[in-house]
Symmetry: C2
Subunit: 405 residues, 2 copies
């Protein structure tokens, strides 16, 4: 038996409407002949339950079955926290902890019990084949010998590509926080700060703004079996030759006159990410570098008008590629020029030549064609963009043109 | 062909000694009849290469084969960064990016080529069965039809249980940073801050100290397929009834007189974590709560003397359990009272009744017996402890006794 709800977190009223995604996912399940889904991947189980335990030493399992509201299975240690966070009312426990009464000593026994109760033990069960480990799959086969397993990872990822209204609201907040970080970074760069000083200023500015202004927003990210991420209002800065690292923890290097500096603000609000990246000149850049900055800004303006519903992702890539080739950067093409973003900072869908996806309203993407000539030129500008009914809305609003400090 | 090393990061001299763990792992491989290891799990590939790309949209693969120095396979986008970070000299590339010349368009083709070069394509290859996904396993079986696969996850985790000297040095730094965060949190709590203000102060104090004092230390953590963690000098605070959440993003709740507040500082230095947790009283606690605080401190002191080489993990658990039972907390026993810590904040090995492990020098553990009576009492005190030749050394040094502000 599941323990009674704690007085801390009374059971949610069962009349609360579920987010639109649950309906969309059930329609996709029917289409793909999938009787039930058991979701283990942190981004996905949060998507389907609203609960992020931050640390995933034990799995959070979302169970979606037709004719039943979603069920969440969590470790007893997370009882109070899950009831306080999730929009589900059916939360069940496993594990051994203090005085908690649970469905079984481990998640596997508890899961087999729940699927048995649902009449799904011998049905076609969807699992995330791009996440579930070989070990866990062996355990599932042993505990559910009658079940057939099928991939549900791609169904859930396709579902995530279109954002619900709560997710769009959170994307706006994440983008606003990223703009605040970027402004603080500009200031720290102007004041002569080194890479670390720039980042520490930016993170602190974002945290102060979040702390006061968004009582209902969490800024934790999704952890793993081995750890947790309490705060992912993150920032990094790479200057001079270090820009070619693309991503690195900031160093004590102080940008010098003639350097380009890439400033990268990656934020989160209630699970939804934003990405805001800028390349800033410290005094005038060498002429070929300055030319590349002007070129990439022109290419962005040319391609921008294509970003609207009905346009294939591959058209956005190819238009960027043509813009680069016509300006003689054909030997330095990037593999992709953006990606879907949301519960992942890098979601599954790339904006590249091979993509079969087409832009739709309520998609959230990054747009980031780069010119990268190793040892010479690195332009790194990225915005988070919401696809609207008519076109697009830039959620990140930091200075969009050439900036020299 | 792998691209030539960039001028940014010349190849490391091949005479640099490898960390002791590579030799330990090769000995374990021989014992477990494993001809080669291909490691994908971020904590493990970092352990075996020294490279953390922060974002893992593409895998970093460590390849360990007898008679050959370790090889790292990375995406072309990470060429400069990996050469600047890793202590390996044999780094090979895959993917399609700018002018980079690589072994193949994707990691799978490149990996098959490398294993072919090593003569390992039809050998017994170790993979992390607790991490490698079903999808990835299918790809590996297709690309390496002659190989036999065996589990290497447990071998690597056993190897990680004993820390090398570089890891112990980093644990000391992570613990020092966690103490600085805890001190700043005490101050913010005394000053009347809410949960978020306490955490933002603590994170900022840790970041300022890190930024200035540790030029060679990175504070990023290990990302996933969907995201990255640039900075994990993290802190959380739970006050009053929220202490029963165990872990949650901080709220705007201001601790009030008579509350207990749990303060949790989780830090990292070059991949190695420290954990420092304290329960602080805001004014006098109710008498049963105060009694429980005194009891848990007594239990800690009793069990502390057992923490030394040669003692089974289960003895540490059972001594904690006896201490709780003899003080009438037998109905509220925790499932474990600590765990190994290192590249994971929660590593694999629990200090619980079922453990078969025995304490050895250079193990790094947390020690955290708790009294948790839901809705009434929550004592949460944890230290990071290094097992030494003679006994133990507490690396976290924040105020160890009863603290009232």
């Amino acid at each position: 038996m599941a323990a009674a709800a704690s007085p801390l977190a009374p059971a949610k009223p069962t009349t609360a409407p579920l987010p639109a995604r649950i309906g969309r996912l059930k329609a996709l399940m029917a289409k793909h002949d999938c009787d039930a889904i058991i979701s283990f991947k942190p981004e996905n189980s949060f998507y389907l339950t609203g609960f992020n335990p931050i640390i995933y030493s034990q799995p959070v399992i979302a169970i979606i079955a037709p004719g039943h509201e979603p069920i969440m299975l969590v470790h007893a240690l997370r009882d109070e926290h899950s009831r306080g966070s999730s929009w589900l009312s059916d939360i069940r426990l496993f594990g051994y902890w203090s005085s908690k009464v649970t469905l079984g000593a481990n998640w596997l026994d508890a899961l087999a019990t729940v699927l048995g109760d649902l009449g799904c033990s011998a049905k076609r069960i969807g699992i995330e084949e791009n996440f579930v480990s070989i070990d866990r799959m062996k355990q599932l086969r042993q505990a559910l010998p009658g079940a057939q397993f099928t991939d549900a990872g791609r169904i859930i990822e396709r579902c995530r590509l279109i954002k619900d209204s709560d997710e769009i609201g959170n994307a706006r907040i994440a983008a606003k926080l990223s703009d605040i970080g970027m402004d603080a970074a500009y200031e720290a760069l102007r004041a002569g700060g080194n890479e670390r000083e720039i980042c520490v200023s930016a993170m602190h500015a974002m945290n102060l703004h979040w702390s006061v202004n968004y009582p209902e927003v969490e800024v934790c990210d999704f952890g793993s079996l081995e750890g947790g991420v309490q705060n992912n209002l993150s920032f990094w800065a790479l200057s001079g030759e270090r820009t070619f690292y693309n991503c690195d923890n900031p160093s004590q290097r102080t940008p010098k006159r003639g350097d380009a500096v890439t400033l990268l603000s990656w934020t989160i609000a209630n699970g939804i990410h934003a990405e805001n990246e800028r390349t800033v000149a410290v005094g005038p850049l060498p002429s070929a570098y300055r030319k590349a900055m002007d070129d990439i800004l022109e290419i962005r303006a040319e391609v921008d008008v294509l970003i609207k519903p009905g346009v294939p992702f591959s058209d956005i890539y190819n238009a960027s590629k043509s813009g680069l080739e016509s300006r003689r950067y054909g030997a330095y093409l990037p593999g992709r020029i953006g990606h879907s973003i949301g519960l992942g900072a890098h979601e599954q869908f790339s904006i590249d030549a091979k993509s079969n996806e087409v832009l739709e309203p309520n998609m959230l993407i990054t747009f980031e064609p780069h010119i990268q000539i190793y040892g010479e030129i690195q332009t790194q500008i990225s915005d988070t963009i919401l696809i609207t009914a008519q076109g697009r809305e830039y959620l990140t609003l930091s200075h969009p043109g050439y900036l020299e400090v």
